[in-house]
Every structure is written in structure tokens, then in C-alpha cells.
Subunit: 314 residues, 2 copies
Amino acid sequence: MSIYSKKEMLNARKALQPYIHQTPLLQSRLINEIAACQLFFKCENLQKAGAFKMRGAMHKLLSLTKANRSKGVATHSSGNFGSALALSAQILHIPATIIMPSNAPQVKKNAVIAYGATIIECEPTLEARESTTSEFIKQTGATACHPYNDPQVILGNSTAAQEVFEDLKPDVIVAPVGGGGLISGTALACEFFTPQTKTFGAEPLGADDAYRSVRDGYIHPSLSPQTIADGLRTSLGEHTFPIIHDKVEEILLSNDEEIKTAMRLIWERMKMIVEPSSAITLAAVLKNKKIFTGQKVVLMISGGNVDLAGFFKS
Amino acid sequence: MSIYSKKEMLNARKALQPYIHQTPLLQSRLINEIAACQLFFKCENLQKAGAFKMRGAMHKLLSLTKANRSKGVATHSSGNFGSALALSAQILHIPATIIMPSNAPQVKKNAVIAYGATIIECEPTLEARESTTSEFIKQTGATACHPYNDPQVILGNSTAAQEVFEDLKPDVIVAPVGGGGLISGTALACEFFTPQTKTFGAEPLGADDAYRSVRDGYIHPSLSPQTIADGLRTSLGEHTFPIIHDKVEEILLSNDEEIKTAMRLIWERMKMIVEPSSAITLAAVLKNKKIFTGQKVVLMISGGNVDLAGFFKS
């Protein structure tokens, strides 16, 4: 029997409501014309800490017992999940520690520090990050928080799609696929709340491990991903893979040029900053018009965290 | 007696409503903390054609008789007003001609063409643009539309502040000052709808003609403006100067570095693209905290048209 249910999802929604933004669902007449369908952008780039990760991180923390909360939490994600966990922990007054590689960009360190978390630096290898994290957890009794491979995180992520369904029963939702946390929550929400809605994945051609995993029926690790969509370089986990395998209609691949074209279209036409890992959903629709023509399509705009240093230097 | 009245302003609001977006009023907790006041961003960057200019352009066209409409309209603004006039004319089925210098960027020409207007190219001097425009008007009987120095345009612009007052009676509104069209409409709206609200102007140090004009009591032309705020390089006109002189509390000056810092803050924290000419309002607040501490401050975010080519090349 599935560990997920409609009741669990509704509970997640209710629990999160005081702590997160109900993000807007925006449209662009011009992009609709180009895409030949009716697009609705679910703007998680306007979420707290700039990404949907806030939903999963906060929901994970809310699921912890008081005793566990007092021992603190830790993660070795230095991306959007690290910031989201730091902010969630700050809001709930839980000590948070983020294990980061010594070569992480200062801007990422600053974001985590601004949210009051502690940083432990380690060698810039996955092995060092994992061993440093488990050593820290052994010593402190802190709870390790995985950025996506955790049912509590997936339930939290499902609340983005749940919000959409209050306004709209779309024909299709397109979500990006990295570790699979957002698309898993989305596909589950579709199943329980609007089963006629199909979930499509959007994945970079240079990091197509989820595409291959679904095709072959087992998890291919993401070994040497090559893509500007930096949020989508991770491998699926044992919690996300089966949901994606069973409930996602198809995973659509786009190359970096297509991602950049879609991203520029959103920036220029909607005056909104979205990261490459989010723009890929529009790239998938523009590349596969036959699938989507005339339909109501929701694009999960997962985040807006882009390094703008280059732009502002000039 | 003033040509402006509360009734005129309400009429403008009603006339425009079917044609423009009621733009959102957004907040950022983090930027509030930095600024030590409560900021409300009136997001005209999310307006049709990406700028408040749509309000004045459309209101000007609505004020024309049927006979005049059939003869078409023309302007020699190649910036946001040119695009806004082209789009407004397209919506109302009025022929529009935009006189542009031969060296105008292709991206600006494309925007105007996409909205169905005709472009006439001329030598890249103000003299050539004016003579080409008056020649065209003599030949065709088209109506010349000035981007800001026109009571119909000012009345149209006043509707942005009118929308704000539905949600909020702020202590202060800060508007950018270029030709003075937006700040004139804003100051008039304050006078008629919420007289306790003070209007401040924000102007680039390198284009401080309005500051000097108000100080000296006559219009200083903007002779060799040097600023990245490309929308604020123009001179005041005889319609905008007296309103600004009489009704604006103070004009605050910022340099390009301060403008860029404010712009980056908005892009990074609000995930929203605003042009330098809009970010200058936040720059003014951050530079003059003493004036604004603890107050409710509305920032007129005039537009979001930024050339992103450099960013997307890299």
C-alpha cells in the first residue's frame, strides 16, 4: 500500500500554509501565441528563498518530533535546498548546519549565513560531503535532511500542484526532473486531486539519467551531467524513481540552447527571473508542440536563483 | 484654473480599465529590512508592453475623435513610449507611425514592428527626427503624440497611482523623473485622492535637469545626460514642469553605482526584471533613509525593458 494518500497531502497543505507563499499562476499572451497552447506559469521563483524547495524543507522540519528538533538538522545540499532548509529552520528556531564544499561560491555561503545556519566546509568531493555529514550527525544526533529522496519532502512539494488545482484543472503539468522531488509530488497530487491531468517531465539532454532510468526500469546514476540547468544534475532516488516510473506520462529532453531560448523568452516577455532548471519546462513545450496544441498546460517554474554577477559587472 | 480635476482623473481610470493591466503591488521582507521602511513596489514593469507608458499612450488615443483616429498617429519616441503607442494603436485599429533614428537597435525596431506599426527611419539627430515627424504629419494629417508633455498623457499616467490608493494610503510615493510624465500624474493623483501622501522624485545625478529646474524656477534642458537610466535622459516640458515645481516634495539624486546596486537587489531578491530608470526609486530610498524610516513608501517601478543580449550571449 502506498505511503501517500489524499489525506496526507491535504495535511501537508494545511501544515505548510502559515509558512510559505501561495505563489501566483501567471500567463503571457505572447508566449501563448508562440506555444499555440494556454500556458500557466506556477511561479515558485517567487516562493520564499526563491524556490519550491521551501515546501519540502519546511514540511520535513514540521514532521520532526520536538526532541529531534532540539538536536538540530543538517544537509549537504548547497543549492536551493540548503537555503530553504536554513530559512525553514530559522523560522522554526531549529539549529541548522549546512555541509558545503570549500569551493562553493561565496554568494551561496552568504545566503545560508543570512538565514542563520552554520556552515561546515569540507573537501569538494561528494565522498567528503557525505562522510562529513554522517560524522556530524553521529556526533550531534542532528537529523539528516535529504533534498528530495524523502516522503516528507515529496509531500511538501505536492502542495505547489495542490494550489494550482484550486484555480484550474489543467490538461497537463510539465515539471522539471532533477532528483525527482518536485515531479513526484506533482504527479501524486494529480493522481489524488485531478486524475485527468497528465504529468510530463522536462530533463536536460546532457543529464538524461531520469529518461534512461524510466526507459530501462532501474535507476541510472547521473554520472557526468553536462548542462546549464544546474538544479537538474542529480540522480533519482529510491523514493522518487517508482513514482516517476509509474505516474509520469513521458520525459521530454531539451538541449542547453533550447533551454536558454526559453529562459530568455520568459525574462524578456514576463519580466521575471527564472533559472535554467525552470525554463526547461517551456523549452519542452516549444519543442513538442504536437503534444500540447490547444491544451491548458501548467509549467512548474521551480526557482529563480541565478548568479547575476556577470550581468551586473558590465 | 487647473485643467485637471478629480473627475477627469476618474474618467481616465474608467476609460483605460478595459485596455491595461491593473498591475500588482509587491513587497519584499528582506528589502524592507535593508531600507528600514515598508516598501510597496507598483509593478508597471508587468504592464502591457513592459512599461507605464501604455497608460498615457492609450489615454491619448482614446481622447482622439473618430476623424482624427482615421488619419493615424505618429511619434518620434523610439523607447517605451514608441512601443506603447504602437500597441495601443494596434488594439484600437489606428494606423501608427514611429519615426526612429537609423541607428536604433534592431530589438527596438522589432518590438514596434511586432505591434503592427510602421517605422520611418531618419538621420540620428533630434533635429532630423523632429523635422521628419512634422513633415510626415503635414502630409498625412496624423496626430503627433508626445511621450509625456501632454495633459491626456499625464491623466493616463495618473491611473497607476489611482490603482495604488485602492489598496493603500501611503505616506510617500517615489517616482522616477525623466520628462516628468509619470511623476506629474502621480503628484496630481496624490493631490486629488490622498493629499497627505507626499510625492518624491528620483533622478540620476548625471541627468539632474529636473532637480536644477525646480531649484531655479525655469526649465533647464537636459543637454548631455550621462546615466545608465536611459529612460531619464529627457528634459521636462511646459506641461510637466509646473506640476513638479508645485507639487513634488523634493527630487533626490543618485549616481549610476547606486542605481545598479538597487537594481541588482530587486532582480536578486524579487526575481523581477526592472530597468535602471525604475530601480532609481529604491536607490533614492536607500540613500535617504532618514526621510523614509518607518514609513509606508510606494515605489513606482516604471518599466522592465532591459537589453538582455549581453547576458544571454555568455
